[in-house]
Symmetry: C2
Subunit: 714 residues, 2 copies
């Protein structure tokens, strides 16, 4: 019985026994509960094809059938079972089988991972060129549920927009004295390591891989980009631990990648240098990488954070970051591996007195001049914004600045700056906005196009060879995977947007709700869906409202980044300032009078951001220092906007809590989920009130301008 | 050779070999280097008396003589050696020896620890009633050096003003995940424990005890007042570790005390309650304490932090703190032990929005009503100020509020809020000011009188039964004992002020310099002394200048308390606020319009503190919220005072560094000491500049008032 703390099944409801050989996990099933397989499991399905991934598909179908009374068949002739068999309801088949053409006409190649879904005369068919496509087709069927089995369905082909759909784990092997087992992890321990040793819980890890595959992820970087001494050894003498992880994830078409230290030739190889142009260094990386591939033939590649926040890098040798990235790319090239080279390079020892240095400029200044110099298998991994995963930032100008480079867009699913999985903050809308942003104006490509293909060019030859989407995972060994049960939706959405970045985030949420929650058999059938949308749809904007205003960012407690501290980073070396004084607030990043950051964008954005009038309200303080009395496009002054949004944000959280209580009160939520969500909503409300009161007090004390509505400010 | 990193001897200078059997410690000898014993060691000394403490005196003399060629004799007849012996230069003798009267006339009893020093016809004599007096007499001789051997010296009796002169170690047994091995320790690890186990370095521990005895300390509480789970066991199954420490410290007349958890009957005894009025609880403490004394017959007693910052206490049972303290006092009474009960009780979960609650009031509000209810062997241990060891606070009103209670005054030698032993901050002047403060006005007793005797009454019958002075130690296993070599002076001064609280702190510094540093044989003979005074005399006021202004306190980085963060505690639950807005700053603690804290003092202070005019400048913002334009007694406005003192403080640090460099450049300082001090002075200057620039920037941005002298503010 899956009646652990995380079960989303209704209490007291009988469930079929688990099939033998599969230990029930004492964890929440997230978006792949048994119930989601009911439509498949109650039908007759035939799987045609062979190989490990086909085995995975088959075992998923078999398990569903064992639970819901259907029939799973492997092999045979398409549409024809053995004598006496009833006809198939569903066929999952490779396109190499000729009889497929009876159902689905030949079209464009589906590629490694695509599939076509069709139904004819009551038989639903999934066709793929390669086994991975069958796996993704299966999960599409799961999403569709009963709708997959309409008698007739015109053929519809699905291909991922991005070839690499990756999650980065920031897991440490050792418990880091400050950052713990998982850096910026808010969901318990690591799924991979515990206290310096491999965790070796293959059932849990396989379940994680299954969830990732279920939302389209196909690559996992297994360890923290801050590579500490112990973790560095995963590349060499502890490689077997990575291989074990790869073995568990492989059946779900997931390749493992590894974060490595640029200093490895010194720390692991005993060389006197890590200079990327030194022949010994190149030889060391070549030999080491050869060994990695001898151990893990489908190894994905390396992830590198270099010359950033204390990590070693090529600057120490007077080399640039193309030199650094190409060193590793060359080592990986013979095996088809890639290096993800992070663009998060800035001076984290900035003097706060110096207003000419601007951290927002750093990635562009470092990397834009290097466009075209990176090897084909080097991917520049760019955070979506120029700062660091704030609730609101402009899109990074690097994304438009390097048309001849493969760029991956990095988003943070783990909610470091967005409530740390104690606050409901559905980030799908943020990522969707970022992916849909058009750096060259309305007629140019969007960010999603750049992630799919360098420069966003639609040239068919280069399609899908962009860097893709990289999501820093929010999962851990928490029974709900993500601390806050509703934070599961973020991981799901990240995978889905990597597959199909033009999906509507509300529709993704719909998918997630449909999969995750069992519909109620009594009462208002739509209450669950409506309530969850009410709690989650606008939660990112709600979070934005009660935290730092108008794009200025930060104002969080230093170090752990939870809760408000308006001046917490104001006089630090971290380059994250708001410059509030008694007259006004904001960072002048204009070309005319500021740091010039606005000029890093192509037109029209460079002009829009440059002018106070053109700049969107939500980014005003990111680009301009304005008086508190400045009137926004909304008609409000800056100071009144601060008061209003903060009071409004708190009210929205209070309302969300009411909605949830009504929902749970109607018996529509598993009690364990309810308990966890309520506890978090209470904390969110407390914290939102704290943000509201501190921010308002800070700005009232500083500006002296009273709230127009006379609400309490302390 | 004592040529380790801590030697203060000149490089290349020949030293006599260490006597056999004494391992040289690879640590700085602090204020008891061999050189300090040269005057004694080069003479003929007779020690008359027996017992362990006399043995200590004798071994000190013998070691000095072995080094410097003198003669140490034990026993015999006063003034007469064996036939053929040359006459004694120095005699240390108990007053029970009749012949003493030839040298020193009988006077008032000297008590347990007093001694008389005299010289007649070229023979110097130290007389004591009890062996401990001989030990302290010996260290007085060491302080005097050659001056002790003037041919004639009128008898001068020394008795400690306070019976208990205690240091509290905040050492943990386990390394605490946040606070480390020593809470608020800035001098390496603990001298007692390491990583959960006893350190068992008796040589080092004995050296520590010797240093403490050398400045007059006679009690050590061995563990942190925050008693965590492991440390709680020192009371019972790990008592042997405390006994080992007691054995090592006993030869220097130091008793050990133990911090205990009020919840021990539950956590160690398995009782369902720790209610102080429950008979089972009383019996548990009685039995446990009996066992403690069976193991350590001269055990000093317990130290308790109860109902404070998360520690358990009597409030949980609806009992007051006299009930709590008396519970332990009753258990200790049969054995002559005492309980030190800390008065540091306040609400550390205060709502910053609530301006009526005032942490400064808390100790008085909790304890003043309990005056007269504490048992005779219960000592209420009161921090010198009402907040928490800030560089500047008013003296705690509790000290004047409980004339029928034995009060100990607690000072913090470890520099939690005064530069963490990276900054030179000689605190002797602060403590001297506190001890000389007269809470009832100029004609009443001083704080030092209260610490010596309840209510400060000079009634002879009750003399010396006050609570004494308690100093939170700044020592650790650092080779210089205290991190910053010059911070040794603070530990020395704390001991000396406990013995003689009316000593001039500059004179104490003189003693410390004379003992610690070898005078130069070349160049300006007084350069060393003058330079050290220049660096240290005013260093506390310098520190005050560049940190929080005018007594308002805090403005430090939360958690670790190092470096500036003006608003760091402003919106926290810790009750430490400054309420700065665009118009003014400070906490209104008046009776008329504020929290009423000023009314906790007797007149005349209650009236003086109540009025802006009467309040001393240095405490203005502690008692009043004033506009930035408020004119101080100094003639400066508050805002200009902030700018001026901050710039001045930085200049003073810069000057101190120059003075030190000149001194070290003249070859007057051991290179290891020089290296360490320079490194710290560099850091102090950096940090002082940071304080200056942050504070000035904060207040310029908030007030809008420019600096009258147009200096750079960012």
């Amino acid at each position: 019985m899956n009646d652990g703390p995380g079960s989303s099944r209704g209490a007291g409801r009988a469930e079929p026994e688990q099939p033998e050989g599969q230990r029930p996990l004492d964890v929440h099933p997230a978006w792949l509960p048994p119930e989601a397989f009911r439509a498949i499991g109650s039908r007759r399905t035939r799987v045609l094809g062979d190989g490990p991934l086909v085995e995975t598909v088959l075992s998923e179908v078999r398990e569903a059938c064992a639970r819901y009374g259907g029939v799973a068949r492997h092999g045979g002739v398409m549409g024809h079972g053995a004598t006496g068999d009833e006809p198939d309801d569903l066929i999952l088949v490779l396109s190499t089988v000729d009889a497929v053409r009876d159902f689905v006409p030949a079209g464009q190649p589906l590629g490694e991972e695509g599939f076509t879904l069709a139904a004819r005369s009551g038989v639903t068919v999934v066709v793929a060129d390669r086994p991975a496509g069958l796996l993704y087709g299966l999960f599409e069927l799961v999403r569709l549920g009963e709708a997959a089995f309409r008698p007739e369905r015109a053929p519809e082909s699905h291909r991922p927009a991005m070839r690499r759909r990756m999650v980065d784990q920031w897991d440490n092997v050792d418990v880091h004295p400050v950052m713990g087992q998982v850096e910026r992890g808010y969901a318990g321990g690591s799924l991979f390591w515990r206290d310096g040793k491999p965790r070796r819980d293959p059932d849990r890890l396989r379940a994680y891989g299954r969830l990732l595959a279920g939302c389209g992820v196909n690559a996992v970087s297994v360890n923290n980009v801050n590579v500490h001494a112990t973790e560095a050894h995963l590349l060499t003498d502890r490689l077997a631990e990575v291989a074990e992880i790869a073995d568990v994830l492989r059946p779900y078409h997931i390749r493992v990648h590894l974060s490595v230290s640029f200093a490895s030739p010194i720390t692991l190889g005993g060389l006197p240098t890590a200079d990327p142009l030194d022949e010994r260094v190149r030889a060391w990386w070549a030999g080491t990488t050869r060994q990695v591939y001898a151990t893990i033939p489908d190894f994905g590649g390396y992830v590198v954070k270099a010359d950033s926040e204390g990590q070693p890098g090529p600057f120490a040798y007077g080399r640039n970051h193309a030199d650094g990235a190409n060193l590793l790319a060359a080592a990986l090239a013979p095996y088809g591996g890639v290096v993800h080279w992070r663009a998060f390079v800035y001076n984290h020892r900035q003097d706060w007195r110096d207003r000419s240095t601007d951290r927002a400029r750093a990635a562009y200044d470092h990397f834009a001049p290097l466009d075209g110099q990176f090897h084909d298998n080097a991917i520049l991994q760019v955070k979506y914004g120029p700062m660091d995963f704030q609730a609101r930032e402009p899109v990074s100008p690097v994304i438009a600045a390097m048309p001849a480079t493969r760029l991956a867009v990095e988003v943070q699913v783990t909610q470091e700056y967005t409530g740390q999985q104690r606050h409901v903050c559905y980030l799908g809308p943020q990522w969707s906005e970022v992916l849909g942003f058009r750096p060259w104006g309305p007629d140019g490509p969007a960010v999603r196009d750049v992630a799919a293909s360098p420069g966003g060019a639609a040239s068919p030859g280069r399609a899908h060879d962009g860097g893709g989407l990289v999501a820093v995972s929010n999962a851990g060994d928490d029974p709900f995977w993500t601390g806050h049960p509703l934070a599961q939706a973020n991981l799901y959405a990240a995978g889905r947007l990597a597959w199909a970045p033009d999906l509507d985030p509300t529709a993704i949420l719909d998918e997630w709700i449909e999969l995750t929650f069992t519909p109620s058999s009594t009462g208002d059938p739509d209450l669950l869906r409506r309530s969850l949308h009410e709690v989650m749809d606008g939660s990112w904007r709600t979070y934005e409202r009660y935290t730092a205003p108008l794009g200025v960012g930060f104002m969080v407690r230093p170090g752990h980044h939870y809760g408000p501290d308006v001046d917490g980073y104001e006089y630090t070396p971290w380059g994250t300032y708001h410059f509030a004084d008694r007259d006004g607030i904001g960072v002048d990043r204009t070309v005319a009078t500021g740091t010039g950051f606005a000029g890093q964008y192509p037109p029209p954005w460079s002009q829009l951001y440059e002018s106070r009038q053109g700049c969107p309200d939500e980014l005003l303080l990111f680009f301009h220092h304005v008086p508190y009395g400045h009137v926004l496009h909304s008609g409000s002054t800056v100071i009144q906007h601060i008061y209003d949004t903060h009071f409004a944000g708190v009210e929205e959280v209070r309302r969300a809590r009411q909605v949830w209580e009504r929902l749970a009160g109607a018996g529509l939520v598993d009690p364990a989920v309810d308990t966890r969500v309520r506890e978090r909503l209470d904390e969110q409300l407390r914290c939102a009130e704290e943000w509201c009161d501190q921010l308002n007090a800070y700005f009232l004390r500083k500006s002296g301008v009273p709230d127009a509505h006379g609400r309490p400010i302390y």
